[in-house]
């Protein structure tokens, strides 16, 4: 079961957790699992379209985190975003392996909720930051990001589908990510 966790971890705490993870420390594994398994599993469910795929992805993410723990630098970013980046990359790699070379065809996409429900008590406070960051985007920027991140559409495919210049799409995607980055860096400081 998911263990409720209180309060965000400091950078030092996150670094220390990863140090312990390297040794296979059970408490460290369960602490990280308790905080981050749910968003990782949820991302897997939406990208891979099956509970089985999401479970395998979650295990692979934690194994990869253990393997790469020495490379995590808490001064460069949060543990949550590090783990989510691993999860997204592994999911896309898996889809590419299963669908052949090239862009992954995502099996399943659900409507992205505009806001968290009142019942959605979440131990990962970065999700609150993520919601605010996404809210800072225009509707067009949010749609672009969702199509790229969750549907795996390339900038060229979006440009062709929307009949707008490729450079414009790339610029808008980059601007959207920079806005998200700026809104979250403000919170970290």
């Amino acid at each position: 079961m998911i263990h409720p966790q209180e309060g965000p971890l400091s950078a030092n705490e996150e670094q220390a957790l990863l140090q312990k993870l390297m040794t296979g420390d059970e408490e460290a594994i369960r602490t990280i699992y308790g905080r981050f398994a749910r968003p990782i599993y949820s991302l897997g469910l939406r990208l891979l379209g099956s509970a089985e795929g999401a479970e395998e992805l979650t295990q692979d993410v934690f194994l990869t985190a253990w393997r790469k723990a020495a490379r995590f630098d808490a001064s460069r970013g949060r543990l949550s975003t590090w783990l989510m980046a691993i999860a997204h990359n592994l999911a896309v790699d898996r889809l590419r392996r299963e669908n052949g070379a090239g862009r992954p065809t995502l099996v399943f996409m659900e409507e992205i909720p505009e806001r968290l429900s009142d019942d959605d008590v979440d131990p990962v406070l970065e999700r609150d930051a993520a919601r605010r960051a996404m809210a800072s985007l225009s509707g067009a920027e949010r749609s672009l990001l969702v199509r790229a991140y969750f549907q795996g559409l390339t900038a060229r495919e979006i440009a062709e589908a929307d009949h707008i210049p490729l450079g414009t799409v790339k610029t808008r995607l980059r601007t959207a990510l920079i806005k998200i980055r700026r809104s979250t860096v403000g919170k970290e400081q």
Binding site: A37, P39, Q59, R67, F150
Partner: protein
Amino acid sequence: MECAPVRERLTEHALATLGGEEQAFVDRHLEWCAGCRKEAAELEQAAAMVGLFTAQSDPPPSLEQRVVERIQERAAAAPGPWRRRLRFLTVATAAAVLLAVVGVGWGAAMFARVQTSREQAQNAEHRARELTARLDRVLNQFLATQGGAGPRDEVRRTVLGPVAGHQGGAGSIVFVSPTQEDWAIVIMGGLSSGGLPYRVTLQDRYGEFVELGAVRRLSGDGSARVFHAYHQSLKRFTYVLVKDRRGHIVLSGELSAPPVAARS
């Protein structure tokens, strides 16, 4: 390599929408460019926030214990600081055994393939094939000492032959895994001491390389071995090269393409 074409692709790199070739192109640049690496990391962190913005579902209760067990199993098998030293000694011992089995004739046989008359070259070729088969068996045994290969692991091997005008030969294994450290071993024989120190590298098809090790002295029979484990992935490297002190390639081999080796 200029940064502009890479920076143009960093957003899609962060969103994992680049194709394989472009992904590899960007990854190669990020290996050495700190400025682009910093920007890439920031964009990746922002992209990861998008992943957090999704409806949540609880994983099944049993998954936590499975994750704990899987990590602890790997951690128990993996080399810690003292285990790394032990693994290196195991590698050194295995490499010594391998050389003993293959014998001094290994390097000489490889050298003879390119140096002698047609009949002698055919005999040398036959001997080299025999030695290659023996080398392959011993490499498999060595692989087993490292825990074997999992279903998604890749084991690539090659026999390095001498470049014209040089002597010697080598065998190599490169182990690529999504969940363990990647590693590579090269065992050489029949080298000339006049070429010391030798540098052993793994190279990709674009010419970019990673160091595997240096050979500063040879055993009495002209043999040596290098072994290195890596945090980075070795997936993209397809050639194993041994260069002499002048930077000339003396031995080269192309790694076999995956498929994945079965668990031994």
